[in-house]
Every structure is written in C-alpha cells, then in structure tokens.
Amino acid sequence: MNIRPILLGVLLLIVPASSLAAPLPSLSALASGGQHVPGEVLVRFAEGTTARARSAALSSRGHSLVATLGSSGWTQVRLRAGQSVEAAMAAYRNDAAVLQVQPNFLYQATTAPNDPHYGQQWGLKNTGQTITDALTQPGGTALFYTTANPGTAGDDLNLEKAWGHITDCSGAVVAVVDSGVNYTHQDLAANMWNGGAQYPKHGYNFVDGNDDPMDLNGHGTHVAGTIGAVGNNATGVSGVCWRATIMAVRVLDSGGTGSTAQIIQGITFAVEHGAKVINMSLGGGGSFDPAYSNAITAAQSADVLVVVAAGNDGKDNDGTTATYPCNFTQPNLLCVAALDQSFGLASFSNFGATSVDVGAPGTNILSTWTGTEVPPFHDSLNSGWSGSTTTGGGWDYGMPGGNACIVDPSGYPSGGYNQNTDDRAYKTFSASGLDVLTLDVLFAADIADGDHLSAACSASGGDPFAGGVLLGRVTNVATYPNLTSLSIDITPCESSTMSIGFQITSGNSSARGAAVCGLGLKGLAVDQASYNTIDGTSMATPATSGVAAMIRAYNPRYTAVDTLTAIELAGRPLTALTGKTTTGNAVDAMSSLAYIHPPTGVTVSVQ
C-alpha cells in the first residue's frame, strides 16, 4: 500500500448488533457524513468463528476483508461499491456469528503549537482575532488591509486537525525560489536544508553567483517562515510545517526583482538537489516566456510540484494580460489566490477561472523577516542640494504640479535643458550600520534620443559623477506628465558622508528635461529575530506549499500531480472563489491529508 491513510480509530464503546433495530444517534450522524470511513465497517465475529466462515460471511454480502484487527475478533471490512454503511450494518444484523458491527469512525486529534505569536497567525488558526501591527516592520506600511479584520473563526487552513497526524514535513524538501532566506533566523535555522560541504549556507545565490543565499529583502524569509518556521519551540511563530527542510534559492535581488535567467537557474538547482516542492511567490506580466516554461516542464519530469502566486494587481489573469508563471499550464503547476480573514477574495488578488487554482490566507500574514528595517528617510527636495553646469542654467528647485522637486531646467516642464550641457545636482546623506541601503526615486523625464539622464552615488561624498557609482542611465524617454518610480540598491555607497546625484548630458539636442519629485532612503540590518506582517498572493502561496510538503511527507509515494489533486479537490468550496478559480476551493490541510485516491504511476502485475 503506497498511501498512508489517516488514522482510523476503533470506537471502544461498541454498539451491539442486537441493538441495531433501535434508533441510533450515530446512524443519523452518519447521514450527515464525514465522521466515518465511507465504504467500510468493522465487524466482530463470535469467538470460535473460523476464518473460512468469516470469509464466507463477507463474500456472501459482496464484501471483502481489509484487515483482521489483532485477536479482538474485529475485522475491518470493505463494502461493495455503492453500498451505504447503514445498509451494510443492517445486513449483518441477523447473523448469529456476528456479535457487533459498527462504522469505522474517524478520529482527529487537534494540536496547537506553543509559539508565542501563534495567536496572531489567523491563517493557521482563525479564532476571529484582530491582527495588530505590533510586529510590522517600520520600513513597510502599517497594516493596511482593514477589510475583515477581525475575520471569521474557522476560516483558516484547518491545520490543528492535520497537526494531529503530522507536523514534521522534513521528508519533502521545499525550495524557496525567492529573494533568499535568512538561514540564521531563530525560527528557521533548524529547518534549513543541509547542502553539505558544497552548499554550507543551505542553498545558492543566483543573483550574485555565489553560495550565500542570505535574504537582503525580507520577502523570501517571510515565505520560508510560512512554510516552515520551527513550530512548538516557544519562539516567535509557527510554520504550516513545524519541522521542514527549506532550500534557499536566491533569484530576486534586494529590491525584490529578478530575471528569467536567474529563475531558470534557480529552478534547475532545486530540481537537481532533490526538492519535492518549489515555491515561487513571484511573477511578471505580459509575454509568454519559453525558457521559464521549459524549466517548469523539467520540474514536471522530475516529479516536482511548483506552487506559484496569482499576482497582486486585482485583475483577471485570463484577460488581456497574462501573469507568468501563474498562466503556464503544466500539470505540476498550482497557482494560488489570496483570501482575507473571512475567506473573501482579497481585493488585490488576481484571479482566473482557467489559470488560478485555489485560494489561501494572504492578508495580514505574520511570519519571519530577515532583519530590522530602518524607518525610511524622505528628502524634502527643497534644500541642501548642490549643483554644477557647463552651460548655465541646470538643476534648480521647482514645484511642478505643486510638488517639491529638483528640476532641470528651472522652468520645467516649460522650456528645455541646454544643448551640449552637463548639468549635475547632488546631496550628501549619512547611512551606516546597514546590510542593505535602497534608494527610491520618483521622477518624470523627457530626454532626447542620444541625451542622457543619469543617477549616481558615491561613498566618499561630493560629486558622485566624478568617480562614484553609476546607478542608471536612460535616453530617448518621454514620461511627462507621468511620474515613474525606481528602486535601486545603493549599498556599495553606504557611508556617513555618502552622496546621491542626478545628471543631464546633451549633444546638439534638447527636450523638456527632468524632475525628481520623490527621493527616499531605506535600510535593513539583518538579524535573527525579526518578524513582519504583510499582504500578498506571495503569502498565500507558501501556505499552500507547506500543505503540499505535509502531504508529500505523509505519503512519500505521492507524485506531484497526486499532491496537487489532493489540494485542489479536497479544498473547501467558497462562493468567493466560484468562477474565479479552476476549483472554487480554499486550501484545507486536513481534508487534503485525508483525501485518498489511487496514486498515479503505480503498476500492478497479476501472476
């Protein structure tokens, strides 16, 4: 038998066969379903009944033997197809050889972890609690998803019953293909994949091309914690799996961005090193990506389940713009939407009747974080800037649209920058003690073809275009009147006297120019004990991956498709997901664990 069924207990308070004629509450309970194993009964034969006589009693009713339960006289019996448990019990009523008969009742233990913040993890156990922002990082926003907070008790992953059967999913390696994982975190370190001497830091970094997949964003660590933060360790939070094997695969940079090249390398690494589940809480819009699709197909060939996020644009992925990888169609791909605390579809969540499969908790999700975020600093853009020009004019303070900006030319958006000019503006800032320093810029630009708008920084201060680090350079752009946002990792420039600057250079041409109307700095210091509460389909995805790991650890011979089928078909039907997903179901850990169907890929030979 390849499948481990959920523990089937034997009711110790036995119903005598002779009493079956009387009304029995348990029988009416059966009609409402769900408390016994369908298609099975337990029969207790009288002492001295031979095996031949037992077999004859079963076969005469079209039944078959599942197991003899020790020396108690009890026999586990499988009924003929279509027969109800109630009818089968009645069939044994007048058999003198039968002392007792009863349903094969299901027992479900409930278990809760002792982690101190478990009470805030509504996705694991929804008691109708209000989720607070006590553990929200200052670099992010305070809780902004106020809908359904508090939500509805019981609208959760139904894990406490599942934990009565399994909390240790370490037999199924889960690859977190993301911004990395803080493998030193107090709630994750014990659950990281052992990569041996070749991968001593539990994975690989395809952003920088080295063996250190440390998370410099936070996103991947949050995802990892939802899957497998150490549970019941009286520390922090619990994962869906209390014990897990998490492989850290870094494909997104500190700004949370990556490319096809990095992702397909990450998938290949995960597949080649034994992952059974790949979590990818990432995506992009627009174009079909053959190389990415091929990597998922390779994962399919290696029997790896790939769980991905639907996206956070609040749109229909089946509409004019697809979202990949969600819209790929491989049978080992499971795409997840985000649910709120009352199991409504989160307002930001993408959906798709043919592309998005299930829903899972994705609002106000508390999990591990990679470090402490420094409260962001926003420059006023109305003082402290220095400038230079080779032609006169150049950068100045301005108020286009009523917002404080630095602009070139001074009359922006009227007029234009000078021809054959080199206009620079820069300012000195201080940043220290950070592992990541990120520059957020909001700008508008009309730059002629061949002219350039550039950004640079310098650790030594002063003019960053004289020996500093070039951060970006654009030409032939026209965004006016729209503002464009940009997030850039400027960690190499971090110092107590660092400078940041902007430059317009031109040839024999001119255009409207540029306005920088937002400039923020934010920092992150990696530590071992940070947590954060955030929203996203990114958060719903690892909840599903954790359940997938649980199923594959419980049934090691389940294929990726078996696991996906159990999650999809045994989910909880939700009106909110009807017509919005392929199944209309929310992920239900206990039901998926109990969902038993013939495993695929198993052959039986008769000799």
Binding site: A261, S388, G462, T475
Partner: protein
Amino acid sequence: MRRSNLGVLLSMTCLACAGPTATAAPPQEAPAVNDNRIPGEYLVTLQPGADQAVVSEVYGRFGISSVKALGGNIFVVVLTRDPGPKAMDEARAGDARIQAVQPNYSYRAFK
C-alpha cells in the same frame, strides 16, 4: 543587531565643475507597454554541440557587453545596442546553430 543610522548629514553649496559631454548612444528599441523584458538582454539557446563563439559571431554586430552560460546550452547575452526581439529572432533564423532566442524577462516579488 547592528546599530543603524540614516539621515541627512549636511548640505553642500553649489560647485561649478566641467564634465565630459556624453556621446549619443545608438538607437535602442524600447519595450512595449506590458512587456516585462529587460532591454538589451536575451537568452540564446544553441543547438547541441554548438560553441559559445556562435553567440558573438551572430549577435556581435549589436555590441556584446557580456555572455554568461546558464547551463543546458543556454546563454544570457547583454547587448550594448538592443535591436529588439524581432531582429534577434531574424538573426537566429539565419543560423541553424541557434535553436532559440528570447528576451530575458523581469519578474518581481508579489508582496
């Protein structure tokens, strides 16, 4: 935990300095709306047995900034001048040693 500090330290007065005049860059094909491709970056898949030099041979005219092997005969190529996906594919069609070429797309965390 490391001590963190972030803030404006000081401001500086205007300085006048001369800098080099930028030369005009070759035309670039900008990505279309809803196209998440990274400008100037492509994945080139070579036929089995083909040498990496084929990449430079076929696409060198667009100015190759770097070529990196990803495994599986796939290379990520960064060009100094982006001719656009159509021109890249036309070049592929003219050389049987190249199996496929596509843009290197950008993806982001869904948080």
